[in-house]
């Protein structure tokens, strides 16, 4: 029973957090940072052109 109460409390907090994040437009921020960091891997790749 107590666990169910905790589960419902977690769901409520999760929903509030989700709604607040959406209201702040953080889903757009995720897109922004994803695009910004898409090149973050690039320096660690081997050179594209073979070393001739």
């Amino acid at each position: 029973m107590e666990r169910r109460v905790i589960a419902i409390a977690l769901i409520c907090i999760g929903l509030c957090s989700l709604a607040f994040g959406l209201a702040l437009g953080q889903h757009e921020l995720v897109r922004f940072w994803l695009q910004r960091f898409s090149d973050a891997y690039a320096p660690y790749f081997p050179p594209r052109i073979p070393l001739l």
């Binding site: 666990r3 989700l18 995720v30 891997y41």
Partner: protein, 342 residues
Amino acid sequence: MKRDLLDWSRPHKTLHFVIKKAFDELLAIRIIRFFVQMIAFVLLSFAAITFVLGYNPLLASPLAGVGWLIPIFGYIPLPFDMPHGYPAGTGTGFLDAIMLIGQAGMFPYIAVGVALLVPALVGRSFCGWICPFGFVQDVLALTPIRKRWPSAKTNQTLSPIKFAVLGITLLFVFWLGLSTFLGIQQDLARTLGPFATAFWSVLSPSGTFFVIIPYLVITNNISPFIANWAHMLTWQPLIWIRLVFLGIILALALFIRRPYCRWICPEGALMSIFSRFSLLGVSRRPTECPGGMCESQRCEKECPMGIRFMQAPWGRLYSGDCILCGDCVAKCPEHAVKVVFP
């Protein structure tokens, strides 16, 4: 009983038995789960299909795949391990979102909301049924190699690794976020090097599998090196570390079911904190389970996460490690294990 039903002098009963058995086999949870995982894998890698059809996601946009299949939800992070930067991917995992938003000096409300809401509602079922890297490990487990079952002590010893990975990752997020807030992020980025973007993304074997290797293939970086292997020595050490780490995980997955999920996955670690309160779960009923002295102990032997179900109290299993794969439900000969909600 079984012999009676297979008595061909009574064809209608035999036929009924054969059809019932075929349905039981067809609807075995493991088979359904495998199909769900396969469909999820295809949907999550949807851009890969368009790439095969002649569309290069790298030419159109750095992350053309992201969000393709979830226009309704936009960029809401997914509740499993899905590395950002996956060129064929249609989404990103919530830990990656926490890292990306957190290092920008903001509190990741949406990602934290997902990390609380999903495990409290359906536990870690996304790990068992949807996670693409979990699916890769499940496919490797199908190889006809004799499986090893790590002891409870081994599981207990290695399980804290995932919490350590999670702790270090969150520490880096806080550190980077604070530096952004104080306006010294550029200096810190120089100090931390590759770890200045997102700590776990730089090492994650899932990231290596879904980001590094596809990029190497898509950009044709790998073919000249295969033609002349000596050039592979010019690769950055970090690439080699990542490839070796991934190789170890995949090799382990041939012998042990879901080694990454059991011991290393930080997403799983974060979800396991809340999934022990999950409304959806499995329960072992004392009336069907013969005094807990079942000889087969299939519920424990079939568990990919190595949960000691027989040692747990009767009734609902409250374990953060349970990925709700349903193998214990399907394999219990006494049908003592059931899915329960709430």
